[in-house]
């Protein structure tokens, strides 16, 4: 099997995973809207929680994967690791955009303000912007070796930056709801809502995987084509 066949196969499987995830997403939406009770104080606005939180999870997962793959790239110098890191960053930026648009839509009716400079909002915003920068940097660098090394450096620096920005804004002030699921004591969420949220998180993770596989295969195919063009000249 040639490299090209392998890439095409990954793309195809990525398509299957994405298709399954989209079906799951439809199921989660139906469950969230019809079968999960309306929250007592926030009303219908709380429904966005089932999109916002999983999207945030997907974005942070994607960006952490990019950071970890960046370390591995500098260690093993395998171009496929770099392509996977870049694919993950791109998917992370897309999820980040979902997170950053659904947040204010919820914030306006509940907080009375679209945006607040709270620790989590600020750190995710800057992380999002940094990874947009990461993608721009990749775009303006033409040499694949330099591109891979430079973007690995940004990936690693980004991983270290997040806790610092978080701490900075934490010292500044905070308003974002405190964690209700991932905290030392039991989740303070009715079971029916928790199940909806967790299935949404699972579906978004699957969606991430599907996107990642397709984007990775695309990157691989593009590189193969560039190589073929270069050797033909």
């Amino acid at each position: 099997m040639t490299q090209r066949d392998r890439a095409v196969r990954i793309a195809r499987w990525g398509g299957v995973v994405t298709g399954l995830a989209i079906l799951g997403l439809a199921g989660v939406y139906v469950r969230a809207l019809v079968y999960t009770p309306v929250e007592a104080t926030q009303g219908a606005a709380q429904k966005i929680f089932y999109v916002h939180v999983p999207a945030a999870w997907g974005a942070l997962l994607a960006i952490s994967v990019t950071g970890v793959l960046s370390i591995f790239y500098l260690w093993l110098k395998d171009r496929r690791i770099d392509l996977a890191a870049a694919a993950s960053a791109e998917v992370g930026v897309a999820f980040g955009l979902v997170m950053l648009t659904t947040g204010p839509i919820w914030g306006k009716p509940i907080w009375g303000t679209w945006w607040t400079w709270d620790a989590r909002l600020t750190s995710t915003l800057f992380l999002f912007l940094l990874f947009v920068g990461y993608l721009v940097l990749r775009d303006v660098l033409t040499d694949p070796g330099i591109r891979a090394r430079f973007s690995s450096v940004i990936g690693i620096l980004g991983l270290i930056l997040v806790p610092f920005i978080h701490l900075t804004v934490y010292l500044f002030r905070t308003l974002h709801p405190a964690p209700i699921v991932l905290k030392p004591s039991a989740p303070s969420l009715p079971k029916v809502m928790l199940v909806t949220l967790l299935s949404s998180v699972a579906v978004f993770s699957l969606l991430y995987l599907g996107f990642l596989m397709q984007r990775y295969a695309l990157g691989l195919l593009r590189e193969l084509r560039e190589e073929a063009l270069a050797s033909a000249q």
Partner: protein, 226 residues
């Protein structure tokens, strides 16, 4: 270790000497800093907000913008006539290039800050001498943070066609912790509050310095190696 320090020293002296002879970047950086200080003075409603209220923010925005302008200079200098290739061909260790550039950038940014600070006092009429020693310490700590990450990122940015655009895009997210910390600390120091009130912010900037100076020095060879 001594060889590394000596090589770094030579690179730093070379950079400072080039700047000293022309003073182009320094003069434009300084004028830019004065312009930012002056423009920010008008970025408020004078009947509602006192200039002393925005003074700490104005000072730090000026410092970050001026630093960003100066940081590209270190490697743009080497891009013309392929100076960096020349340095890479010498037996100087890669780390020496980082430390040399880092030191030269510190001198450059530090000099701009040293001249803008009195101008800041003139424009905004703030009592910086109340806690002058502590203020200098805070400025020094935050400047180390700017310059460490900036030296690494500018070495990358100059390799692109859009160096002047890429550096701010990549660097600004990293300036958030030292910038916010600098503003908070300066605001408190200008009110005459002791540093012990502010240990949280000081620790944050110190940790940032430690993490990013060592990380930038470690990752630098990845950026310059061919």
């Amino acid at each position: 270790m001594r060889a590394l320090l000596r090589a770094a020293w030579h690179i730093a002296v070379k950079d400072v000497a080039i700047e000293w002879r022309t003073k182009t970047a320094f003069a434009s950086g300084l004028v830019f800093a004065v312009l930012v200080l002056a423009v920010l003075f008008f970025s408020r409603d004078p009947t509602a907000v006192a200039s002393s209220d925005i003074a700490p923010g104005a000072l730090w925005v000026t410092f970050t913008f001026a630093a960003m302008l100066g940081l590209n200079r270190a490697f743009l200098l080497e891009r013309e006539l392929h100076g960096l290739d020349g340095i890479l061909l010498t037996p100087a260790p890669r780390a020496a290039i980082f430390w040399g550039k880092f030191a030269a950038n510190l001198v450059f940014v530090g000099a701009i800050e040293a001249i803008s600070l009195p101008l800041f006092v003139v424009f905004y009429d703030v009592p910086i001498w109340v806690r002058f020693g502590e203020l200098v310490l805070v400025i020094a700590m935050a400047t180390v943070a700017f310059v460490a990450v900036g030296t690494l990122l500018s070495a990358m940015a100059v390799r692109t066609r859009y160096a002047e655009l890429m550096l701010p895009l990549l660097l600004l997210p990293f300036l958030v912790p030292p910038l916010v910390g600098g503003v908070q600390l300066t605001a408190r120091l200008l009110e005459g509050r002791p540093l012990s009130d502010l240990s949280g912010w000081l620790k944050l900037i110190a940790a940032f310095d430690l993490a990013f100076v060592s990380l930038s020095a470690t990752l630098f060879h990845v950026v310059v190696d061919e």
